[in-house]
Symmetry: C2
């Protein structure tokens, strides 16, 4: 949603507020960086997450310093960045990157319901490894008790996207300097079994 906080001072043409765009970026990411402040001092934490409808979920140890601050409901800023390419122009000034990013302003709400907590843990696991949760040894009540799940509204979220090639100044375009895009991609390499799994078949969802 566009609010004063999600309206940028620059490059406003790159901003997008429609939920489908925001969701697609969040769903493609492997982690977010979540920040909050205490007495003017910002703290940031990279962490796994999942999206559940119009909410974003994270989890952590009940003893975690970060979780204990955020469960108070103080304002947070959640940042997700997918780097898609390096954009090489003929001047340094016109260099850029192609990216898809999301910023969320919200306050954490603790998920207290047992079944909702387990649902969140399943979503967070499956965000990293689709279809993984159904294969696992079921969670124990003690594990769920040791874990705090925080939920954040995506109401005040915005996306920022750059695509395409370099935008050189007209007078630079005939310079004999190579310009273009180097695409970036995060790839999953072949799965490496640990000792206990060398004789187990690799599940289909990991192929």
């Amino acid at each position: 949603m566009q609010t004063p906080r999600t309206t940028p001072s620059r490059k406003s043409k790159r901003m997008q507020y429609d939920p489908a765009t925001i969701y697609s970026i969040l769903d493609a990411a492997l982690f977010c960086t979540i920040s909050y402040a205490v007495d003017g001092q910002p703290w940031s934490l990279p962490t796994a997450f999942a999206r559940d409808g119009n909410r974003l979920l994270i989890h952590g140890s009940v003893g975690s310093h970060f979780i204990r601050e955020m469960e108070k409901g103080i304002p947070v800023c959640i940042s997700v960045t997918l780097l898609d390419g390096l954009v090489l122009a003929k001047s340094g000034f016109s260099h850029s990157v192609n990216y898809r990013s999301v910023i969320v302003f919200a306050r954490g709400e603790k998920v207290e319901d047992y079944d909702q907590k387990v649902h969140a843990l399943a979503l967070i696991t499956n965000q990293l490894i689709p279809n993984r949760w159904a294969d696992l040894r079921p969670e124990t009540a003690s594990e769920v008790r040791k874990t705090t799940v925080l939920s954040f509204s995506l109401e005040e979220a915005s996306a920022k996207i750059r695509t395409g090639g370099p935008l050189d100044e007209p007078e630079d375009q005939t310079l004999p300097i190579w310009s273009g895009v180097i695409p970036l991609e995060t790839v999953r390499r072949a799965a490496i079994p640990d000792e206990s799994s060398v004789s187990l078949p690799l599940p289909d969802y990991l192929r």
Copy 2:
């Protein structure tokens, strides 16, 4: 350096404070997420950066809202995360990720000297594309004037690293559930020339 702010509440065995480790993580990264707070409200910005000795450099438009806040010298938290692998255990609880991350607490200092600014812009460009700067149309005084460079000390930086396989509970290790690691890697795909460069040779440093 280990300070109260860089001492974690959990997993302290994963922490590292030696500069060589911190530098190697920063030097391998393509962007950082930098956060600051105004009246308790955190703001985060993913941005390119470079390391120059024991300092971290970022740049931005002189008109940028973020840059103008940070150039005041307010406290920031800079987060760099490299995700190296997904760690699949036999329980959801023991799932993890392999990563190398750095957190820096610092305050921005504006780089005013012209030559130091140009040096910073060269380092930031070369952090993304090694050896690129020497190939470019030289910067103009106007471009340098339109750009603010901020420098941050790495004195209060810490690294956190996880490597290796899953650490399942002993009683889970015989379960017939595949466990192990899926390595992750960010790869650069073949460079795509823009229209002005289709007949130019690809520079060696882009091969």
